[in-house]
Symmetry: C2
Subunit: 328 residues, 2 copies
């Protein structure tokens, strides 16, 4: 037997601490266990209800009731709480971290995370911020699943001077969970995600808000006729409010920059509509198809029409065809 | 045997002519046949390739090579071409329409359709404009399917004075195809669809265009990290360019009105981000969840996370877990 094969079963980290067990935290727990990426999982959550649910779901080997207790003795601590809460968690766990431990997170913003967490962490601890670009519109420990990270990207943004072996171990951990790993500068991460994630969420939240408060069109009409495109936006606009509030408060400059670009382009498009400039509209509408093709080609999206919504839009029981009377 | 039951098998219209056999036209052909809603289907399309494909797919009993030939002798003529082409089609078919025939369409805009088509149609013909609010991002005769209209809404906008029996027959036709039917004023239709369909398409096209032309973030990065939300927008931005150009050119006032509302709200949201006003953000992000819940409750959307994308995002073959070397 080849030694490399025998080695493959060895965990990357001995003891993993997950702080915050929502969609992402619970998916990490499930995936890490499924892949044997760690030997032991200890988890904690702020609310007693969540901790109880984590026990019921059997997501961890041990569930403790404080962040400090979870961090004590852990080899990898992953902070899976909203971006705005990460600094306080770093302060709480710092005294309990063992020398050589790796601290990471899953925040959608990276510069602010480094600003808020790094100052609290002791020198003998390795800080490797991470952002798995994956998720659904659902929240909580029940929403997670082991396959969430498969074929998705996880971006690491280690500050300059971070121990290379610690970065490498975190990379292998995420690869074991099925992710592709990319290392990036935090500021560039924040700009990239502003356009691929933050601004899309903002305009989805915005149009759902606009549609809900019109005088001319009722909410009931918006809901009934949503299959014309609107309903796609409501998925994103159903994402966790606390998480997204914190993203916008903590990635302000990049979001405002990208929003400025979006608005410039929208002004040009609005002008084309006002002027009846069909060529400008047609040219844009043709170019945008290529981007989707590329996203499907690299496996980041399904090629099925309508996202493969079941039975092509007949999600509820298909109505029994209504009998019709004589055709006069 | 009850007479009502025996009657149920009788077609609503004898001869259906479909002019334009794309996603919608071909879905009507498939559904009308599957439900026995008509006795005979004649179809035509502008391009010889499409007509050939309609023959190969066996979508119609007869495929003819002109709009006039399709309309001749038909009891129901449904014009399924882009909004901007409907007026010319009405002019072509007018001389061939038989007395008492019903003419309809499937355009996403209704006032302009009435403006463009009605003047050409002879008095002894009934004009019942229709808009089935259903579709996918795909185009062409192969993209259609018989279930497309099930549990979706079809909006009829008959001009004042339209024969009530003709409206009733068109209603029964769409109900036979599985749709729920609503009768609406054309101007109100155009305003409602501007917010539930046209503006969502415009901002989806717009953000995909913005993302493709940034200096700071490459297209390759946009594509790789699209799973953070952006990819949902690319589905809508892959819709047929000609159809959508015509929608914006022909529903200008309503689209500009709704776009104005969208922009006002976005300005307020932008200000909240700039000012660090987390409460405004959190409140909006909480309210928008309710709209999605309602859309799911009335069966216009799937409740599955991520639209039920297969294997939760592992659309390509799930990668084989990478073996990792010793956990040092």
């Amino acid at each position: 037997m080849e030694p490399a094969v025998a080695e493959a079963a060895k965990p990357i980290f001995e003891r993993l601490a997950i702080i915050g067990v929502g969609l992402i935290g619970s998916s990490i727990a499930r995936a890490a266990r499924a892949q044997g990426a760690v030997r032991t999982i200890v988890a904690t959550a702020r609310s007693p209800e969540t901790r109880r649910r984590v026990v019921e779901l059997g997501l961890a080997d041990q569930v403790v009731d404080s962040n400090a207790a979870a961090a004590a003795g852990a080899d990898l601590v992953i902070v899976c709480v909203p971006v705005g809460a990460c600094g306080a968690v770093a302060a709480e766990i710092a005294p309990k971290l063992k020398a050589g431990a790796v601290v990471s997170d899953v925040g959608s913003v990276k510069s602010a995370i480094i600003r808020d967490m790094a100052p609290h962490l002791p020198k003998q601890v390795h800080f490797v911020p991470a952002h798995p670009v994956a998720g659904t519109e659902q929240s909580g420990p029940d929403a997670g699943f082991a396959e969430l990270f498969q074929n998705r990207w996880c971006i690491l943004t280690p500050p300059p001077g971070t121990d290379a072996r610690a970065v490498e171990k975190v990379r292998r951990f995420w690869e074991a969970l099925g992710a592709n790993v990319e290392i990036m500068d935090p500021a560039h991460h924040d700009l990239t995600l502003a356009i691929t994630s933050h601004v899309p969420h903002l305009i989805a939240y915005n149009i759902v808000g606009t549609a809900a408060h019109l005088e001319q069109v009722t909410s009931s009409e918006v809901i009934k006729f949503s299959a014309g495109g609107f309903r796609d936006f409501t998925r994103i606009a159903a994402s966790d409010p606390t998480m997204w509030r914190d993203v916008f408060l903590n990635n302000r400059e990049a979001v405002l920059e990208m929003l400025g670009r979006f608005n410039e382009d929208l002004a040009a498009l609005t002008r084309a509509i006002r002027m009846g400039d069909g060529k400008t509209l047609f040219d844009l509408f043709t170019r945008t198809r290529g981007i989707r093709r590329s996203i499907i080609e690299i496996g980041q999206e399904t090629a099925e029409p309508d996202f493969g919504r079941r039975a092509h839009g007949a999600e509820t029981e298909a109505p029994i065809p209504k009998p019709y009377a004589s055709g006069d």
